[in-house]
Symmetry: C2
Subunit: 325 residues, 2 copies
Amino acid sequence: MKVLIIGGAGMIGRKLSERLAKDGELGGRSISELALYDVVPASMPAAAKMPVKVATGDFPAEGEAEKLVAGGAEMIFHLAAIVSGEAEQEFDKGYRINMDGTRRLLEAIRHSGRTKTRLVFASSIAVFGAPFPEAIGDEFFNTPLTSYGTQKNICELLISDYSRKGFLDGISLRLPTICVRPGKPNKAASGFFSNIMREPLAGQEAVLPVSESVMHWHASPRAAVEFMRHAATIDTAKVGPRRALTMPGLAVTVGEQIAALKKVAGDKVAARIRREPDQFIEQIVAGWPRKFAAKRAAELGFKPDQSFEDIIRIHIEDELGGRIG
Amino acid sequence: MKVLIIGGAGMIGRKLSERLAKDGELGGRSISELALYDVVPASMPAAAKMPVKVATGDFPAEGEAEKLVAGGAEMIFHLAAIVSGEAEQEFDKGYRINMDGTRRLLEAIRHSGRTKTRLVFASSIAVFGAPFPEAIGDEFFNTPLTSYGTQKNICELLISDYSRKGFLDGISLRLPTICVRPGKPNKAASGFFSNIMREPLAGQEAVLPVSESVMHWHASPRAAVEFMRHAATIDTAKVGPRRALTMPGLAVTVGEQIAALKKVAGDKVAARIRREPDQFIEQIVAGWPRKFAAKRAAELGFKPDQSFEDIIRIHIEDELGGRIG
């Protein structure tokens, strides 16, 4: 089985490719080739058990999706996207990549005639818009309040329709916010959820711009990779025509995050968090989903992290070689 | 104020244009020109109080939306669509007209810079897919089970996003099934809901293919025109960012329809309904929404018909000149 990861240079793409390369198989089926595609070259996974191809390109460009599909992958992970903030500022760019690119991919698969192609699409909880109930259920409606969320929602709808028509076999996963996100601090409004864990663990100071009562919905990078792997091999007959699933996560407050950090890494590490309230960020975050009741995904075998302590331990293991700074 | 009706030759388009032509105004603003656009020429409304332009074209074709928007309408009713059955059979055609056409219209308005353009879009309860709760609430999720419903849902999302961005001022109305639909019996699976009223009233026999316990969601053509007029003049600040509204209707069973027909037109007329159960149609109809709790629309001033007897009386007044056959 050939596997293609579109968006293979991104954080999840990289972790997924490393896992697949190491395993050499997915759901008991041997992977004969792993193709990694992105706008910049994906890094080569270490010690891959199969040939790995790295390609770059402009995903939504004319003919690009056809070229990708011509590679013959039976399993496609589509993780490529213009992120939320950029899609909001660059309206045309966001629609071109997040919506038109996906549609072209669906069309290319449809016209390839390979109706059994499994497509796993990274959607987002941005398909939901405030006001929310206490916990957002699986049947709560989608009213995105960003262009990014709109684009993701449209892709979900297209994937359900193309799957229903039998053109392909798709599934959309609405991922929680990934925490602890590795790498450098970034300017995303959601960055602090990871910054206040990652930086103190690395011996650095981090800024907390919101109050400790702010609740948010989290999953570790490892959990996200497991969601992808499970979605790739799940019996979609059990999923039925409603192909978009909210992934299970952990709803924790910033205060609970900090308490978990103290427990795992000690008071000295947690003391590296500096409170610097920022009205602007507090306001943005107030419009985000806080908590879900993701029953369908749980029933279908998708598993959340066990605890926020675990989320921190996963970061220490996977990113810090087990050492706290 | 110039008004444009895209889909002006359709049943609702025709009734809306007649009403606007006769009134000469909308929400207290005088209509200086009424433009009717469709794939076939719209009929000229009688005794119009303003100049009426009739144009035909291929709506989603390159440059067509720009041409339409260049007409300078401040108020656009977009009622054009490939209907459900055809969109299901002709996949590309459905997406081209129902999705791409609408998107091109939105882009043309956006690029015209006329941000106050009010766009009233005819959506559909086909954005919902079974299984349903007893009554479908305003916050129930959209999981269309047809390509038509998918396309309508995508248009709703785009219209909300373009409105939120301030490119235009749009609103999407999910219309109930229109009953009594004038004209000839057609082969649509939903046709019988109207056939069993219209044909007996005109002295003809009609076939009822389902059991009398089947419940469905109805509005008269007159109510639909009122929904359009109200949506055209409503304060969208009150609607907020959730621009798609399920219109209020009447949930009645076929048995209640027949009882109403007896009451309004007598047993002799109702006796013209011939029971001819059709498993195939019964099965299709079982997947359709039956009843809604359309609270938001009601709070925003959209009004359903008073009773099914009224729906029948409206048909007799508007289509039969007050005479029963």
